[in-house]
Each structure stands twice: as C-alpha cells, then as structure tokens.
Symmetry: C2
C-alpha cells in the first residue's frame, strides 16, 4: 500500500519478469526439456536456490510460460482476424489460420509446449484455461457468424444420436448454430492444428517443401468443405 512496500514489490515483479524472459529465451532455443532453473539463475548472476523465492518449482515457471504462450497465440490470431472485413468469412478463416501458422512456425518450441506432448508430471492449472481458448473463440466466431449470415453450407452428414448433448462444451465458442455445425467446426479446428503439429514437429520434412502454400491450400479445402462464402 505505502510507497516503500510498493517499491519492494516492484523490484520483485521486475525480477519475476526477468526470470520469465530468460526462461522464454531458453525455451525458444533449447525446448521445454532443456529449460533449466540453474541455467536461468546462472544467466542472472544468482544462485539457483534464489529462483525458488519467485517460482516454487520448475513446473510453475513452465505454467507461466504456457499461459504467456496461449495469450501470445490468442492475441496474434485476434489481431489478424479483426483486421478483416466482417462479411468475408473465408478471408477471416484463412487470415486466422495463417496468423496461427506464422506464430507456430516462428515459435516452434513454444508451440510444442502448448500443443505437443504434455510434460511428465504436469497438470494444467485452471489459470491456463482462460488463455487457452482465445484462438478457438476467434475461429468459432467466424463459423458462427458465417452460419448466422447464411454464408455457409449445412454439414454433409448429421451427428448421430449418441452425440446428443456432447456438443455443449464446445458450443459456447461457436454460438447460435445447430449441433452439426458445431461438429463441423471441431473437425476444422482439429484439421488446422493437425497440420500445424505435423509441420512444426517435422513430419513434413523431406516430403512437402513449400509448406506455406500447401497449408494455404489445405485450409482453403477446409473452408470449401464448410462452404464458407467470401
């Protein structure tokens, strides 16, 4: 409350920021497995135990990096999509896809931390879920808008009875559409991230070279499947 307390808090916040910055740099170069608290401390001129004043464990440091990553990816796609004409649904979809891919290709290790194999003993705390849905909210919003504008084709097949009610958890991100469209959106979502994971994790190495063009075409195929109008 007082100025002195705020001063101490400020230097603490600054140190936390510095730790996460260095950690993020190490993550970018060495990957999540290579992130070492001792190396971070060394780079800061501190002793390793001092880090534990600011992060109770390595997993907690990873958690803040994960949240930051989700926010970065969410902000990238939000910003890119917001610049599109609202009624160009295919354009909004493609722009969002490319924003996502650009970020993923530029930050492969961070992408792997977010969407790759979960780290061994790591359980995502609740704090992450708010940040992790920003991209799917954007993607779902495009499909929702397109459907409600009548600028989208009805899905080729309807979901079976056993999926009754299963769409509830997803619908909040793609509101105002029938179940079939929700599942269509899920399919598009998984196709998008399936490509990104394949590309970032190197599954295309040696087989597909112009990955940006191939990705663009693949996402156009997905848009065409949904009948997204321009």
């Amino acid at each position: 409350m007082t100025a002195s307390r705020t001063a101490r808090e400020r230097v603490r916040a600054e140190l936390i920021r510095e730790i996460t910055d260095i950690a993020r740099r190490q993550l970018a170069t060495d990957g999540a497995g290579g992130l070492s608290l001792r190396a971070v401390a060394r780079e800061m001129g501190m002793v390793s135990s001092a880090i534990y004043r600011y992060f109770p464990s390595r997993d907690d440091l990873l958690t803040t990096l994960i949240i930051d990553g989700y926010n970065a990816i969410g902000e990238a796609v939000e910003r890119a999509e917001a610049a599109c004409p609202r009624d160009d649904f295919a354009g909004r979809w493609l722009t969002a896809c490319h924003a996502l891919r650009d970020w993923a290709v530029a930050h492969p290790h961070e992408y792997a931390l977010l969407y790759g194999s979960p780290v061994p003993g790591y359980h995502a705390p609740q704090d992450t879920i708010a940040a992790r849905v920003r991209d799917v909210t954007v993607l779902g919003g495009i499909i929702s808008d397109a459907w409600r504008a009548g600028a989208m084709r009805a899905p080729a097949i309807e979901p079976p009875a056993e999926l009754e009610g299963e769409a509830a958890g997803v619908r909040e991100h793609v509101p105002g559409v029938p179940d079939g469209v929700v599942w269509q959106a899920v399919a598009a979502w998984t196709a998008l991230y399936g490509w990104l994971s394949f590309e970032v994790f190197g599954q295309f190495n040696g087989t597909i070279e112009d990955r940006r063009a191939a990705f663009d075409h693949s996402m156009r195929l997905t848009a065409a499947t949904m009948g997204l109008a321009q």
Copy 2:
C-alpha cells in the same frame, strides 16, 4: 556363423530385447521424459554403465522404441484395414481410423513419442522412415483405390500453380490420382492425426466426453468430404 559365436550373439540379442521391453514398459508408465537408463539397469540387476554395451546412448534406445512404435501402429492399421471388403471404401477408411485411434488411446505415451514434440536429441535417423510410413501407405491406398474405382468425389478446389510438383513426395503413398486428390488426402491425414493428438494430449478434457463417438463422426465427415462411397 559357428554355433559358439551364435551363442554369444544370442544372449546379446536376448539382453537387447529385455532392455527394450523394460524401457517400453517404463515409457508406457512414465512417458519418454521419465525413461531412465539407470532405472532400466536397476530393474535388470545391472549397473548403469553396462547398458552402454548395448545402446550407445539414451537417444538410441529411444530410437528403437520409436521404430517399434511405428511398426506397431502400422501393423495395427494394416491388419484392421485388410479385413474390410475391398470395395467398401468408406468402411476401410473408418476402420483404419479407428484402429489408429484405438492404438493411440491404448498407448498414449508411445503415441506422444511418435507424434508429439520431438525429443531434445531429435534428429530421426533414416532407419525410422521405412516404419513410419506404413500407416500413411494404408490410408493413401484407400483413397487411391477409391479414386481409381470412381468411388470418390473430385476435390472442391484445385491446387494453385505454386504447388506444382510439390505433391511428388506424397504421391508415392497415394498413387494414380491427380494432384488435387493428393492434397485432399493430405488434408484428411492431418485431420485424422490432429484429432488423435488433441485427444491423446488432453485438449478435449472437460469439453468432449464421448470421444470415440465424436471421433467417429469427425472421420465420417472427412469421408463425406471426399465423397468416399460405401
């Protein structure tokens, strides 16, 4: 060549097999990050340095586990698909998809090792590529067969000029089809693995519960997109 030499070689082969078995069990329970050469040695009653007589490094042990994994997944999908009527293309597609998913759900850590974030010492040797394409050969074969039987719809959009020749690396797995169909197959392939990765890596936790049914519907959507006939 002689019997005595074969005897020594045989015990060596047996030890290698035992090491990989224990390692695979540890991989299944603790994940790739938790796989420890020392723990394997401990469980075998050996000292850790003795392991290095059989595997020059931890990465080499992981590599054989990766190859085994690709072969296991390839064999599972090959066997399941081979049991389908040859002219039921949608059935073959769905069967292959479910075989893949069943294996992935049953072996999440192994799946993560194959299709998740690459491990730190991550350069996959050439030995893996022969095993890693068995599943895509099956999937590509279905699409190729369907196309040549006239039991498949032409893709909604054609690939752009810049993708000319880019399909070459993929076409060997889906022979005898035009470029547009190759890219359609790639899209289906990425959609399939995108779903599996999302499910295995826990992205559906809390939102989609009946994942088998949802997966089934999603793969039926993909089949419908390709117009696979039954």
